[in-house]
């Protein structure tokens, strides 16, 4: 069964052809980063316009690479939220047009659900699907930070989420304070490799009790601002490396330790990471290391499925197709859609 999937929730225009929910036949991604770089982040109006320009060529590219035509597709899937509203509209309109003209089902997919299903795509497939559930997913991106208890297909419980800044946002803001540029995640990751992660004792944000799986990254962001201010002169390159390394260490440890704690508390044997921040090399290494120590299975998607992509949407859509969970042609994009 072939699903054509479309993802335009933020600043990546992507289309993919996915076979039976696991095999990615094509997954071209056009990133707009260069257009947003000078603004230090995504500008919604620019993103929407670029999606309009890129959407048709990207869909054609996805079909060509998969060596199929519109006639071979069984369903069309699209991200309908959460995300930037202008960006979402472009993908949703394209998907509706294809569903209507080809007379095939339309499947609206939650972007967050897509990130979770990145773990089920075949190139990362380590365990039989029947034994997969339940698992915990640490979903970390520029706009989201949450721990989700995935009990079965389409069956999720959010155990914890951020109370202020998302982890990816903290990376972007710290990168800006250090004058590194945008996007901040990869730049800090690179710089941190050359710094001493124990040079500055930034505090781990602690939340206890009933909300122990919640996150807060506003405090460490402020701590970095205060630290930079406390330096007598402008930050030199050694100091930048040390700040990046010390900051990243605290963020990564906080994310992973909460995930591990939740797995133990809930007696869940498998943990996974997803979302753009899961491309961070230290997060990937530390999650694997801690899972091994605790004798848990760890699912860590390949890089290309961590950041926004349409293949993960096609993966999630397959199981919705099997449940006949279709969307009407009146499907509305929702900027603040919840899991």
């Amino acid at each position: 069964m072939l699903i054509l999937a479309i993802e335009t929730s933020c600043d990546e225009t992507s289309a993919a052809v996915v076979k039976d929910g696991v095999e990615v036949l094509s997954n071209p991604i056009a990133t707009q980063t260069e257009f947003h770089q000078k603004y230090g982040g995504i500008v919604p109006e620019i993103a929407a316009r670029k999606h309009v320009e890129l959407i048709s060529p990207i869909i054609q590219e996805a079909l060509d690479k998969a060596n199929i035509t519109f006639k071979d597709i069984d369903a069309v899937a699209v991200t309908y939220g959460p995300g930037l509203i202008g960006s979402l509209i472009v993908g949703v309109c394209a998907a509706k047009a294809i569903a209507w003209t080809q007379k095939i089902p339309l499947i609206g997919v939650n972007h967050l659900e897509g990130h979770i299903y990145a773990n089920l795509l075949i190139s990362n497939f380590q365990f039989p699907i029947s034994n997969l559930f339940p698992f915990l997913c640490l979903l970390v991106s520029g706009g989201h930070t949450m721990i989700v208890h995935v009990k079965g297909h389409g069956n999720y419980e959010t155990l914890g989420r951020t109370r202020d800044d998302a982890a990816g946002e903290a990376f972007d803001k710290v990168a800006r304070v250090l004058g590194l540029g945008y996007p901040g995640g990869p730049l800090i990751d690179k710089l941190a490799k050359e710094g001493n992660p124990n040079s500055i004792p930034f505090k781990h944000p602690m939340i206890e009790g009933e909300y122990a799986y919640d996150f807060s990254f506003s405090g460490i962001k402020t701590a970095v601002v205060n630290h930079v201010k406390s330096l007598q002169s402008t930050v030199n390159s050694v100091q930048k490396k040390n700040i990046a390394a010390s900051f990243q260490k605290v963020v990564v440890e906080t994310l992973v330790e909460k995930l591990i704690k939740a797995a133990k508390d809930k007696n869940v044997q498998t943990v996974s990471i997803a979302g753009g921040v899961s491309a961070n090399s230290e997060l990937r290494e530390y999650a694997q290391k801690r899972a091994d120590e605790e004798k848990l299975k760890a699912m860590i998607p390949p890089f290309e499925y961590c950041t926004d992509n349409a293949a993960m949407i096609g993966g999630a859509a397959y199981y919705k197709f099997k449940r006949k969970d279709f969307s009407p042609l009146s499907l509305k994009p929702l900027a603040s859609l919840r899991l």
């Binding site: 603004y39 230090g40 982040g41 995504i42 500008v43 919604p44 109006e45 959460p82 995300g83 930037l84 520029g142 706009g143 989420r161 951020t162 109370r163 202020d164 800044d165 998302a166 990816g168 946002e169 972007d172 803001k173 800006r176 304070v177 506003s218 962001k221 402020t222 601002v225 205060n226 900027a335 603040s336």
Partner: protein
């Protein structure tokens, strides 16, 4: 009126008091650097508007909407440095949308800042200490 808060919970409490006094089409403009307490204060405003949801930073998505006793439009202009980008965002529509418009990084608004905006400035004094300067026109304080 200048108020010093010693910790985040005091900043939230102050926001809650102001939030409770807000009515439809009020615009609250927050000025101040990164980490000076704007989002923390916004969480208090939301409490004052009887919003149960977590109010998180809207930096990434630029505008978050919440349902309370009246709607809250929580806007963050941190990433938009050019006035034209802000105009493109259609921010002015939110000033008249029958809710409370709460704007972080309001310094970016320049001439677009509405005349009726309640201006509140934030300053970092020490690690956890913040100076919050509530300027006119804020009634009932």
């Amino acid at each position: 009126m200048k108020i010093t808060t010693e910790r985040a919970s005091e900043t939230i409490e102050l926001g809650k008091k102001i939030g409770a006094s807000l009515k439809e089409n009020d615009v609250v403009a927050l000025f101040g650097e990164l980490g000076s307490g704007k989002t923390t204060f916004s969480q208090g405003i939301a409490k004052g508007l009887l919003i149960k949801d977590y109010v998180i930073s809207p930096t990434f998505i630029l505008i978050n909407e919440y349902k309370g006793r009246i709607p809250l439009y929580h806007i963050d202009l941190y990433r938009l440095e050019k006035i034209d980008d802000i105009k493109d965002l259609g921010i002015e529509e939110y000033f008249y949308k029958n809710g409370v418009c709460l704007i972080e990084w309001a310094e970016r608004l320049g001439p677009l800042l509405p005349k009726n905006a309640k201006i509140i400035e934030f300053e970092i004094i020490e690690e956890n200490k913040r100076m919050i300067n509530i300027k006119e026109p804020v009634a009932n304080l």
